[in-house]
């Protein structure tokens, strides 16, 4: 390689990074359409947290509209989201299962004891395999799955009251929940 060119590599790498940052600066915060929205939710069977020996089978959810909330005890943003999930659980409007992503069972349970448990069931995904099937970027993320088992909506990052009102509730109405 040309000797001068070699010394330009750091600068080029840096400029690429700046390009990304600049794009981030001016991009309208809009949802990345998930390739899975409108597609059947990947099927899985996994142990249920705190219920030794029991398995959760996603196929059993057919016929119900439900939310799958991906979270972890090590995730700070999940703690921000938690009170809102507790409020949602109070309304009992919709079934919400948690997916404890790459978590230690004891740690996950500890958080639920300390902060309350908003989930109907918590499914453990210790090695993150279910997360890969669902295309989880990171935690928290929330999926809305309809009666036919199709993913209708995906939210990346903590849920907010605004997102619930503008995105989730209209969808729920549409789905007759």
């Amino acid at each position: 390689m040309n000797r001068t060119l070699k010394f330009l590599i750091p600068l080029i790498l840096f400029l690429v990074a700046v390009g990304f940052l600049t794009k981030g600066l001016f991009l309208n915060p809009r949802e990345v359409p998930s390739p899975l929205v409108g597609k059947p939710a990947p099927a899985f069977t996994a142990p249920i947290l705190g219920e030794a020996g029991k398995q959760f089978n996603s196929a059993d959810m057919k016929g119900q509209v439900w939310l799958l909330n991906v979270w972890a005890s090590w995730c700070a943003a999940c703690r921000d989201e938690h009170p809102l999930l507790m409020d949602m659980a109070q309304t009992k409007r919709i079934v919400m299962h948690g997916l404890a992503y790459k978590d230690v069972d004891a740690d996950a349970q500890q958080v639920l004891i300390a902060m309350g448990n908003p989930y109907n069931k918590v499914i453990t995904d210790t090695d993150g395999k279910i997360g890969i099937d669902y295309g989880v970027y990171g935690v928290p993320e929330t999926y809305l799955i309809d009666k036919a088992g199709i993913i209708r909506y995906k939210h990346i990052g903590p849920l907010t009251p605004e997102i619930l009102l503008t995105k989730v509730v209209p969808l729920l109405k549409e789905l007759d929940v």
């Binding site: 750091p10 600068l11 700046v18 600066l25 991009l27 915060p29 990345v32 972890a72 300390a114 970027y137």
Partner: protein
């Protein structure tokens, strides 16, 4: 009127900084002495003016001047004086002012102590620091002015975030910034050298002490922060791979690489280009870190959208400083000659491996930190890749580096022999393997991770001790006592030993706390007893206590071992009415072998509480290791050769390692 003095000083400082950063450079280029002579006085004036404005802001906090918007939003009249002063850096604007104030301290130090450098080089060095300051001052004045007024004044302030009302807030940020900003000196040395066309052993020798001081502060700053998180957050964790922590850790990793590659450049004239690049990278990562933390990018990229001028300014500044430095690097570095040749097995190769490991580790942290930001920028929310990513990747990268740490210092420069190193290290290998087998079985749980960790820790400690013994043997003069012999070894060598020992202690601490901590989450009524191993924790109930600006529920726990009382713990749950926030204050009984850690969860019915109890074995070793590393830096710094060698530039540097 007083806040106006602060603002005026900042504006004047800005003007002086512009002169400091431009005219002397022209002078050095055109060889005009009058212009070059401007550097020192303008640098000192600029720095003093910044310090004046910093003191003014501090006074505004002290005097509860709520006509200053920044004071009104980060302080409160009920806040204890110590925290009112620390609240100066409790928000964005003040943190930026702290940054330039610390840059001023470094600038003054450079004008005072770097006086034995060649003239043009010294002038360029000071001018580059001036340019760094210009950017920051402009950022403060145009987008984040801490002296903006609030007319009419607020009746009272919105208070400092209760999480920050802790002695840690007084020490942690200034010490950390001393480290962050200190890398600006190494950066300025690198840029001055590229401009000067002077990249030689002498350059490396001048840069070394400055880099070591910055590294020392950064080490201590990170350790303080970790200790603070440990007792304040109430989860018993000491490192969360949080983006803010990573922002300070990346410059540390690169700075550590820099310290080592500077050693090679000084001793052997090799790695010159790489060393310059590391100097630039260390400071670039400091800048990136400061901005990631302070710009609000971290809480959400959308903060940029609410105040695009700030975000744009940040990017522009990064592009000019980092981009400019890298462009200069690309133009000048190809002309730098290669250093002396070295064998595949040699001290140089080991240090190169060390550098690669540290650089790759820093890169992996950068990737994990930026990835969520990119997702956020692309429209997703705030997500976290968290410890699963970092633990897996970082540990895997660092493990070989830790192993090589034991070999490197024993290898000779230029050409070393593996069998020779092998013979010297037989004993260390035996000690490490025995410890790796013994310690986990004594502690009662055998796991591969614990065994590997103990091996690494014992390996570093034992090889370091063998290194000392070896050094005494080779340099031993006949009929001289051991003490006399120890005295002939330069301080820098002891510094290296101590820093490496610190790493060993740190590794042992991390391994043992990770492998053997135990915790219990329980509901406790008054006089309930929780048993963990041989220890009993007796809950004596909680009572209300009135603090200076909070109301607290203070629990009382008696800890007994074999029916003897060994500790009394008073964990608290504090309520801060001004911000309506509740804070957990854990209480800890620290010990050499284990910490007892109790924190209160939520109050339950009939005086019962949810309680968290942790036993943290060897956790203090983590911070002790960091302090030992920093002390190693201090010893290296005190080595007399920096003073002597600096006066006589042509003198051949003593063989230190």
């Amino acid at each position: 009127m007083i806040p106006a003095i602060g603002e005026l000083s900042l504006i004047l400082a800005f003007i002086f900084a512009i002169i400091q950063g431009t005219l002397p450079l022209v002078g050095a280029w055109r060889n005009k002495t009058t212009l070059m002579n401007l550097a020192v006085p303008t640098a000192r004036a600029q720095s003093l003016l910044i310090l004046v404005s910093f003191v003014v802001l501090m006074y505004s906090f002290y005097a509860n001047d709520f006509s200053v918007l920044y004071v009104a939003s980060t302080s409160n009249s009920q806040l204890p004086t110590m925290y009112r002063l620390a609240a100066v850096w409790g928000g964005h604007e003040g943190s930026m002012l702290l940054w330039v104030a610390i840059l001023s301290i470094w600038t003054i130090a450079v004008t005072l102590f770097a006086n034995n450098l060649p003239d043009t080089f010294r002038i360029r060095l000071i001018a580059v620091m001036g340019l760094v300051s210009v950017g920051f001052l402009a950022f403060i004045l145009f987008t984040s002015n801490p002296f903006d007024r609030l007319i009419p004044a607020a009746l009272d302030g919105r208070d400092l975030n209760p999480l920050l009302q802790d002695p840690g807030m007084v020490f942690h940020p200034p010490v950390l910034y001393m480290g962050y900003v200190g890398f600006s000196v190494a950066f300025a040395f690198a840029i001055a050298a590229l401009l000067d066309g002077r990249l030689d052993n002498a350059w490396a020798r001048w840069t070394r002490p400055w880099t070591t001081v910055a590294w020392m502060f950064l080490t201590l700053g990170i350790a303080f922060g970790s200790k603070w998180a440990y007792y304040e957050l109430g989860w018993g964790g000491w490192w969360f791979w949080d983006a803010v922590e990573n922002a300070s850790f990346m410059p540390w990793l690169v700075g550590t690489a820099l310290i080592h590659s500077l050693a090679v450049t000084e001793k052997r004239g090799a790695f010159k280009v790489w060393t310059v690049l590391l100097s630039i990278c260390a400071f670039s990562l400091s800048l990136l870190g400061t901005f990631l933390v302070r710009s609000g990018v971290l809480t959400s990229v959308h903060a940029f959208a609410t105040d695009p001028s700030r975000g744009l300014f940040i990017l522009l500044y990064l592009v000019i400083v980092i981009g400019g430095a890298l462009l200069l690097f690309a133009l000048r570095a190809p002309n730098v000659g290669l250093g002396e040749k070295f064998d595949v097995v040699s001290r140089e190769s080991f240090l190169l491996a060390n550098n690669v490991v540290l650089a790759v580790a820093a890169g992996s942290v950068l990737l994990g930190t930026m990835y969520p930001l990119l997702i956020d920028a692309l429209g997703g929310g705030k997500i976290s890749v968290g410890p699963p990513y970092f633990d897996a990747v970082f540990v895997a990268i660092m493990a070989p580096g830790l192993f090589l740490m034991g070999l490197g210092p024993l290898a000779k420069w230029k050409k070393a022999s593996i069998p020779e190193i092998g013979t010297r290290l037989k004993l260390a290998a035996v000690i490490s393997i025995v410890s790796a087998l013994l310690v986990p079985s004594v502690l009662g749980k055998i796991s591969l991770m614990a065994a590997v960790g103990v091996f690494m820790g014992a390996w570093i400690v034992s090889t370091t001790l063998i290194l000392l013994q070896n050094r005494i043997k080779t340099k031993q003069l006949a009929n001289v006592s051991l003490v006399e012999n120890l005295k002939t070894i330069p301080l820098a060598f002891y510094g290296m030993l101590l820093a490496h020992l610190g790493v060993g202690v740190f590794v042992l601490g991390v391994t043992l706390v990770k492998g053997y901590e135990s915790e219990q989450d329980l509901r406790m009524e008054v006089n309930d007893i929780a048993k963990i191993g041989d220890l009993s924790f007796i809950f004596k109930g909680a009572q209300k206590v009135q603090g200076p600006n909070y109301i607290s529920s203070q629990g009382k726990f008696v800890v007994t071992e074999d029916d003897k009382q060994i500790a009394l713990l008073y964990p608290e749950k504090r309520f801060y009415p001004v911000q309506g926030a509740t804070m957990t204050e854990a209480d800890i009984e620290p010990g050499v072998f284990k910490d007892l850690y109790v924190s209160l969860g939520e109050p339950l019915e009939k005086g019962a509480w949810s309680v968290r109890i942790y036993i943290k074995p060897f956790v203090q070793w983590i911070w002790a290791g960091c302090i030992i590393m920093a002390l190693g830096g201090l010893l290296a710094l005190l080595d007399k050769r920096y003073r002597i060698a600096n006066k006589n530039l042509t003198s051949k540097a003593e063989e230190v390692f």
